[in-house]
Every structure is written in C-alpha cells, then in structure tokens.
Symmetry: C2
Subunit: 662 residues, 2 copies
C-alpha cells in the first residue's frame, strides 16, 4: 500500500499518461520521470498560492522542457489553480482547451512562461532571478524582505545541450544569483537514442565552471533526497545551484521506461494499464483521483495561502512605515504614466543638426529613464555602439543588484530570453540591444516575446550597409523582413529624431506587444516634414500638389532623405511626387482603410519604395506596377558613402527609377 506522498506522485504520473493517451499525442517521458521532484518542490518547498497566482512574491517555477506540459497541468489541477478541471485534462491538446501541447503564458492560469523551444526556459528563469535580485535591492528594508523568492527551473538533456543555457548560466554564475535553483532531469535519453551518441560531457563540471553550487540526487524517486537537495540549494547564499536529478524517462511503464520511445508519443492503452499496475494504482476508471489525494493537495494549498497572508500583513506594515516606497512599488507594478513627457512639445522637437538615430535613441532613452526608474536593460557587449548606457543608473552586478545597466556579455540569445524573463517577472520595463545583423540570434526569443504578448523593447543599431567597413557579415539585409513578418511584433525604422521619438513612444506605451527600434550607425539629416504622425506607421512627409500624385515614393529610415531629394529633382522635370515615410508597416496596417487610402490612394499605381535592405514585403505597397530600390545581395566592406553609391542608393537612381514607372 502506497503512502499518501507516493500516491500523490503517482497521481501526477497517471493523469499525465491518461491525458496523453486520450489525446493520442504528447510526451509522457518527462512527467513520469520528473513527477517526484515536481511534487516535492511544489508541495513542500515552493511558496505559491493557487488562490492568488499573481502574488508578487511567489516563487517562480519554469518548466523549460515544455513538452512535459502534462506534469504542470496535473499539478495545476491538483492544487486547484484557476479551477483547471478534470474536463480540461481530458481535453489535453484539443483546439481551444486550457491544456495546449506546450505551456502557454497568459492562456492557462499558473503558467509562468511559454516554453517548448529547449533552453529558452532556462534563460527566462535567469531573467526572473535577476528581476528578483534587483527588486529586492530596490525595495527591501531592514525587517522587510518584501521581495524574497526563489526561481526554480526544470529541464532535461535537451535544455542542457542548447547553447542558450550555457550563455544564461555562465552569466548567472557571474552574477551570483543564489535564488536561482536549476533542476536537471538527467535520464540519459534523447530522441535519437542514448545521449552517449551526442552528449557525453560532464554537465555538473560545466556548472562548476560557471560558478554554481552543484548537487546530485542519485535516486529521482527518493523524495527525502530531493528535499535535502532543495534545502542545501537554499542554504547557499552566494551561488546559484544546479541539482542533477537522476531519473528514468517514462518511469513506471515497464515496456518503455528508460527508452527513447517513452519521450514523445502516447504509451498506448496496454502500457497505460501496465503503468497503473506497476504503480499499484487504486482507481479503475480513467481520470479518477483518490479523494485523499485531493485532500492532501488542498491541505498543502491552505498552508501556502497562509504564507501569502503573512506577506500581506508585512506589506501593509511596510506601506505604513515607508509610504513613498509603497507608492514606488505601485508605480513599478502598475507602470509609470509618461503622458506628461509624451504630450510635451519638447519631446517631439526637431534636432538642430544631423544625428545618427542610435544617438538620438540614446538621449531619449535617458530622458525616459528619468521618469521611469524601473526601466532596466543593456546590450550584448555593444553598449557603447548601441548607445544604451543609462547615466547614473548603476551597473547591475553581483555587488550591486540595484543597478539597471545590464551587461549581458556576447550572448544575444540569453540576452533576449532574459529580457523575456524580466518582463514575465513583473515590476520592470525591460530592453535589450545588439547590432541589427545579430538580431538573427534573438529571433527565436523575440518570437516568444510576441507569442507571450510581452512589451519587451529590442534596440537594433547599425541597420544597413551604413555599417560600412565591417562589411557583409555585419550589414543587415534581410533582418527587417524577418521581424516584419513576425506576428504581434512592431518594428520601427525612424528617419530622424522626431520619428525616433515616435518609436520610443510606441515601445514604452506598449502593453502587450514587443517593439524593435531599428537605428542607424551613420548621421541622418532631420526631415522638415517628419512629425508625430509617425505613430501611424506611414504618413505623408511631403505631398504633391495634385490630388492624385504623379507618383509616390515610400521610404523608411536613412532612405527618406533620398526620397525627399528625388522629389525635388523630379519637380524640376514637372513630375509632382508624394513622399510617404513608412517607419513601421505594422503600425500602418493598424490604421483604418480610409487612412491608408488617403496616404496610398489606389488611384496612384506609380509607386517606388526605397529601402537599403531586402525588397521582400514591399510589393504590398508598390504592387505589380511599382518598383523597389533595394539591396539584392549582401553588402560589402568600404566607407558607408561608397556603399550607398555602389548599391544605387543615390538621388539619381531613385529619380531614374521613378521615371521608369511613369
């Protein structure tokens, strides 16, 4: 006869196996192997309150191996999160259910992060731990550890193989994030077979190299051993901890345990039956949970609710003793209102002289920081070039978690995922930065930012052949198309100070969408016609006198000046052109059909787009009769001016192209 703890662990296993079997799709391997560590952690160590999933000081738990989602859904059901019902478990992986194939943040109550792309959950957890460390440094006072929680993350061999986890954990070690506790579900199995074929490294030693405390649980089914490891992890107050837990993939299923076949497909009816027999499961009926198990989890949930109650009492005392800090807390968590800044004429003023939009961005960033102390971010070792350093904001480091200038090192992937983690944690407004050509490295994480509706800001500088001497490896061509095609993601490529202000306005006021600012290395002239209208994504910068212009030139960023100059040249030949600045296709597409028609009237088919990047995506606006002055290949190494000349970004070529469509 199993005791209540074994029975509870097996409940997670059986529910997971049954739901996956019913869906005829899913990954039983992880839930069966990792059920004990998850049970022990959630029940006896983690501070969380199913009745208040948003509690600011809850411990965070990220399942980096998102394919094991049934592990989470089983726990959420048993703890009563969002009343995730047995019916929901029966609808696992069905359209519209609360139990999709991989955990989705914002979709199912209690899910802290969307996971699935292996390794990203690991890096997001590092971001959450950084957020905790920073907020604790900002808000805690003697006797008031208002911010004091752990971040737990669980992943397997796949998460450990992905480079992003090395990037993130190397940084976590440097930063001494001791509230970060990593569970390594080590079962020596990968989809193609034993990990021996591709992964024989000493993972524990790698984590020691990163500066982690490393622990090992020899038997992943031994709850006492797991409990001791968690306690030892908490006891280390200078280093993050990695706990290697030796498990058997698909544990409990005689025909499949320890085999690759247990990973990603249902066990099969017979094997589910065999699993129940092996585990001495008491219930005949599928999707049945012994009442004592529900009672056990309810009891645990009650205890946990009490922990939040204590915190609430503490916080009320804090609010009385430190009213301005409490006010600050509210602002951090509800967001700062910058309407004063954005309504001021000064914010939209023109710059006197030519300026690189990266420099303009840097000064606006610092303006915003003055009003938004919870703005935090940095660059992948390119801050001096990205112009992302915030004056007097301090450097975030092991010795100064209060700093808001983050130094990610040359780690674009971890940086972007950490940005997601900072945004997921709450209380902070985050940004990340690198060269635009390296935005490619951040794309898989930016995709999750968009999928999770996180208002993370990406600052991408050196946005074209304007990079110059560094040459094609550093000159973006297709990156803008890549991000413009990403759903729920807004890209701004401003042409001057005013449009850069609009881009930052969009980024800072966004509540549910990531924004990328695509900025120049080289100086740009200030456009007379640029205005706040840039918030609409596309607008008339210089109009033609005719109701239907002879032609329309559409451009973005550094090419807007070319369009304006071409208009002047064409006027000499009696060609009356409209110039449309299009800093953001996404913002433009949000406008009414009437507005779009007013900017780009269907009646005018003679259209030319100018952008020193790929033409991919531009035909939406120039159609079958228009042309695009663009890059057709990669760039080259040379002074920027010589490159614009070589690749045809000259007034002459734009004029000639317009004439060719007339």
């Amino acid at each position: 006869m199993k005791n209540i703890e074994e029975l509870s662990v097996n409940t997670i296993r059986v529910l997971s196996a049954e739901a996956i079997q019913k869906a005829k799709s899913g990954h039983p391997g992880l839930p069966l192997g990792a059920a004990p560590m998850a049970y022990e952690l959630w029940t006896n160590h983690m501070n969380h309150n199913p009745a208040d999933p948003e509690w600011a000081n809850r411990d965070r738990f990220v399942l980096s191996g998102g394919h094991g989602s049934m592990l989470l859904y089983s726990l959420l059901h048993l703890f009563g999160y969002g009343n995730l019902s047995m019916e929901d478990l029966k609808n696992f992986r069905q359209l519209g259910s609360l139990t999709p194939g991989h955990p989705e943040y914002g979709h199912t109550v209690g899910i802290e992060a969307t996971t699935g792309p292996l390794g990203q959950g690991m890096a997001m957890a590092v971001g959450m731990a950084m957020a905790e460390a920073h907020l604790a440094a900002v808000f805690n006072k003697d006797g008031y550890d208002i911010v004091d929680h752990y971040t737990y993350v669980l992943g397997g061999d796949g998460c450990m193989m992905e480079g992003i986890s090395s990037e993130a954990f190397s940084l976590a070690g440097t930063l001494g994030l001791h509230k970060l506790i990593v569970f390594y579900d080590s079962n020596n199995i990968s989809i193609e077979g034993s990990t021996d074929i591709a992964f024989t490294e000493d993972v524990t030693k790698r984590f020691e190299a990163f500066g982690f405390q490393t622990l090992e649980v020899k038997d992943g089914n031994n709850l006492a051993e797991i409990a001791a490891a968690i306690e030892a992890a908490k006891a280390d107050t200078t280093r993050p901890t990695m706990i290697k837990v030796n498990t058997v993939i698909g544990y409990g299923c005689p025909a499949k345990q320890g085999k690759a076949s247990a990973h990603g497909e249902p066990l099969g009816e017979e094997n589910v039956a065999a699993l129940k027999e092996y585990l001495e499961w008491p219930c005949k009926e599928a999707f049945t949970v012994p009442q004592e198990v529900y009672d056990h989890f309810n009891e645990a949930a009650r205890k946990k609710a009490a922990v939040e109650d204590e915190w609430n009492v503490l916080f009320e005392k804090y609010r009385k003793e430190y009213p301005d800090m409490a006010e600050k807390w509210d602002a951090y968590y509800n967001g700062y209102d910058l309407s004063k800044l954005f309504d001021s004429e000064d914010y939209w003023k023109k710059a006197e002289k030519p300026e690189a939009t990266r420099s303009t961005s840097g000064s606006i960033l610092n303006e915003i920081k003055q009003l938004m102390p919870n703005l935090i971010g940095g660059s992948a070792d390119l801050a001096p070039s990205n112009k992302t350093n915030m004056k007097d904001a301090g450097d975030f480091s092991k010795d100064n978690y209060a700093g808001t200038n983050l130094h990610f090192g040359v780690r674009e992937q971890a940086m972007a995922a950490i940005g997601n983690g900072l945004a997921l944690h709450g209380g902070l407004k985050a940004f990340v930065a690198t060269f635009f050509v390296f935005s490619d490295y951040t794309k898989p994480m930016a995709r999750l930012s968009a999928l999770m509706n996180l208002p993370l800001t990406f600052i991408f500088t050196h946005d074209s052949i304007g990079v110059g001497e560094d040459g094609p490896t550093h000159e973006p061509v297709e990156q803008l198309a890549a991000f413009r095609s990403l759903p729920n993601f807004c890209v701004y490529r401003p042409c001057d100070r005013t449009e850069t202000a609009a881009a930052w306005y969009r980024a800072v006021t966004s509540k549910d969408q990531p924004t990328a600012l695509v900025l120049t290395r080289q100086n740009l002239s200030q456009m007379q016609g640029s205005s706040k209208e840039a918030l609409k994504g596309g607008y008339i910068l210089e109009d033609s006198k005719k109701e239907v212009p002879d032609a329309i030139i559409i451009a973005s960023g550094s090419e807007v000046e070319l369009a304006v100059n071409a208009k002047a040249e064409l006027a000499k030949d009696g060609v009356d052109v409209r110039v449309v600045s299009m800093p953001s296709m996404e913002a433009f597409e949000e406008q009414t059909a009437e507005y779009k028609e007013s900017v780009l009237p269907k009646a005018c088919r003679k259209r030319v787009a100018v952008e020193a990047l790929s033409d991919f995506g531009w035909y939406r606006y120039v159609g079958l009769d228009g042309k695009v002055v663009s890059m057709t290949g990669f760039g080259a190494s040379g002074p920027a001016a010589s490159l614009f000349e070589k690749f045809g970004f000259t007034t002459e070529n734009v004029v000639a192209t317009v004439k060719s469509v007339l």
Copy 2:
C-alpha cells in the same frame, strides 16, 4: 636588437596597426595580442602551401575572431598567398579591395572561412575536423595517411561566450576530435570593459567538462611556450585540445594595451608611432617590411611546399596501388554526376498514395545516397521526425568516423555551422535538419552559407500549423519569409512527391548556393498536374481555358491541393481559374521575363495566393488588387485538420476569397 622571430612577430603587429590606421577603421587589439601564437603556428607547425592554397591535405586555420582580420592579411602577405600585395594591405577595408573588414571566403586567397559573427568560426572548425576524421576513415590505408591534417581555430572571450561554441565543443569532445586544436586568446577584455562584468566562468574547466585536453600558455609572447603547447596538443590522440593563451589586448601600444579601447578602433597616429618605438621597429616608412623578414617567411614557405611535394608523391603511389580508391577520391572532390538518376523517368514518377513530403524526402535522400557516398548529414536530435536517417550508412561516432549519419544533439546552431565547416573542407556533400520552426536558430549560420556560396542543404520538416497538437511554439508562421528574404538562398516548399524530387534535384546540383527543403509533417495528395516544371520555381499546375484566366490562384506545398479543389468548385459557378504552383519564389525569379509573364500575365490582376504561413512577400505576385489566404497570427494546439479549418484553409474560404476579388 630583436631576433628574426621577434622581428617577424612585430612585422605582423606593425602592418596590422598601420593598415587599420590608414583605413581609419578596424580592430588592432587582437592582431597585436595574438601575433606570436599565429606566427609560431603558421611558421613552425602548420602544414600549408602558399603556392597551392587548395592542397587537399593542408592544415586548416580559422580565425573565429574575424574582426582581427589584419592578423590574417599580414600573414597571407608575408607568406605570399595569392600575391596579396602591400598595396592590398594599404587598401584595407576599402571598397573592392582584397582586404575587407572581416575575412571573406572565396574573396581572398587563403581564407578558409568567412568569420565575424562570434563563435561561428569555432563551430565551422569542428565541422572541418569532422570532415577530416571521416575522409581519413574512408580513404586512408596502411602506410597511406592520405588524409591527415589538423584544424586550428583561434578566438577570444567573445567566441567563448557565444552559446554556439559550447554546443560545438561539447559535440567535439563527445566525438573525440583530437585533430582539432583551439587557441583561446584570453585577454580579459570585452567591448564594455573587463570580462569580469559578464564572464567570470572558468573556461578551462568548461572545456575539461567537454572532454578536451586543456593547456595553458602563461605568456602569450613566449614562442617556446606556444610551441610546446602545440606539440602537446598534437601528442594527444584521443581528445581535442584547447590552449588558453594569456595575452594582452593591443600589446605593444603603451597608451592602449590591456584596455577595451584597443579592441575596435584605430590606435591613432601617435599611438602607432609609440607602438613602433616600443617594439623597436627599424623602419621609418609606413608599410615597410625588413628584407630579412620577407626572406624568413619565404624560407618557411619553401619548406612547406616540400611537405606537399612529399604528399603528392605518396598520393601518386596510392593512386597506383588503390586505383579505385583514387577514383573514388576524385569523385568525392569533384562531385558525383547524378544526371542518370535525374534523367530517369522513375525519379520523377508520381507516388501512388498520399504521403508526407518529409517521408518522400527521406526516400529520395536514400536514393541519392546510393549514388553519392560522400553525402553526409543529420539532424539536431530529430532524425526520426525529419526522416533523415540514411540506411546502412553508419552512425558517425568516436568509434566509427566512417559513418555518414551525424547526430548533432539538440544543437541547431552548431549543427548549421558544422554543416558549413563540412562544406568548406571539401570532399563532402552535406545536409542538416530540424523542425522548420527551429530554422530560426540556424538562420545566422544559413546567412554565412549564402554569403560563402556553400551548397549546404537544409531539411526543414513540420512546416506549418500542420504540426497540430504541439501548438504555436512548434508551428512556423514567419520562417518562410525569413529564408525567402535571405540573398543567395533557395527555398523549396513542394506540394507532392514530384515537386519534392525537384527540390532535391535543385539542392544536389547546386554548386554555389544553399537550399532549404520545407516539408510537411502530414500526408499530402499527389497532384496530377505537378511536374518537372517545378524546377522553374513556379508553373501552371492546372490551367484555365481562357487566354486570360478569370483569376489565378497561386499556392505552395500543402495548400496547392486547396487551390486545385477551389478551381473545381469555381468552375461550377462558371469561373475559370488558373492554378499556379509556386514551390520556390527564388527559382521562379531566375526565369525569363517572358516565362514569368506566361505564368502570371499582367493582364490578370485577379489573383489569390494561398499559403498557411505569413502573407509577407506574397503581394509581389498578387499585387494591390489581389488577396492572400494566410496566417495572420500564431497557430494553436489541436489536431491539424481542426487547425486548417479554424484558420480558414478550406476550399470554401479560398473560393470565397477568389470571388471577392473578381
């Protein structure tokens, strides 16, 4: 008075500093610090022949820290590679010069790989070492070590921070690639300052964890110490070696050495002068090399030519003793001619029943492998899903370098860069594979494949919401746009067996361009109208009876059947539609204007494109008057059929959309 070796090392330093100064742009830090190790390696250890840069058995050298390009250009000039002249060095970073900002493969003789995006050179070197190990296993006979060379790679802290290097070196350790020797130029400086701010890990310990032999050179200026380390590295015949060389960034420039400011900007005239004084440089005139230095390098080059001469003699004996092996060698290095296969009707035959294009691809891959033994590749732990396993081809492992099925582990980035390394080495035809949604991780490397004109094949399966239950984290939406916008890259998304055959034809016959095959998870019907014409990228699959069709439906992959069904439905209402299958926009754009007009006549503006992905890029073919049936957001978790229904990929919706444009 400096001896000839010190003088030679300083020549590399001075030439580098002078060229960067003249260009007013560049990175002096690395060349000044790493000159001694590069000099010692190239002069006294590396087998290479400036007179024959293509020698098959040369040692490979990759400068992963590509920003230090002047280190390479100085060496290539001094060794007389491609007669890289002093004039070329004076034109460093100028448009059209042989000395671009970063080393470019195929542009400058003696450059083994294009580098710049940090870490990728490390992984490409691992690929080269894998190629060497494999070819040695295939071709070497007792007394005939025809393939027997080392692969050296040099990189700094940035390369070590990037996750891709952890991915690649973890695999290198597993595979025991003892001919791989990594130089870690350790100077503790990054762009944002000391590496302490972001990178305090014990790199040596990390490499031990990977299974490397680790060595340290305490004084990076000590040639004897460097020589000893290289010898010790070669002496280990079971493990790859990492040599940590402690250097001073910008060594020799009193005002800047050891500082971040030495990294990425010219030293300044005064500091160049100070450098020369510090190094006791004998030449007043800039860009002047003491004759004895030239003589010294010429002598070294002569000795190295002799090594190739010996090899040539050995190879001629080998050719006599093993004529069929020599013939095989020629085929490996000149490429196999598969025209017999491709000219056969059998190759283009229709499949009898519905089939997933990933499965079709798997069978074609195996057909090709029969005729192309030097085909090598694998998946990032998804071979069973990607259908990339080659029967009876053996698994490449430490114990069997003769195998051609590669197991990359869950390491998409390293996989793609290793694919580049395999292609760069010569003698092999390589492919890599993963889920299409994870193609995002391979994009930065695919970009280098395209930039280097490497005919690497990317197999991307699970290409849409057809993925089904795994949900949005696993359902590509924007990836196709990302790769279509990449210059010199060809994407094929076939609709059935015949088009999959065309895609493989394109991939296998490509000499200078990477190709991606984008394939379905789910079964697809075989299209009656599909044909070899698919090689043209876009063609008429089912025509209308009218010269100018009432409308044109353009589709790719799994949506072609929808287009065909819609045509049948519309016919009932007297609407006579043409169906165009567009498996490859890139191949279509290569066709003549006449051909393109014949497929998509300007006279017909009523066009609808159907693709279960982002509409981004499709307006090029449907124009301002057409519409696109596409994904506007991310997918969802559920059975594939329910998703196609939910997101409007139904005959009804396509019919309705066509009617809406009539």
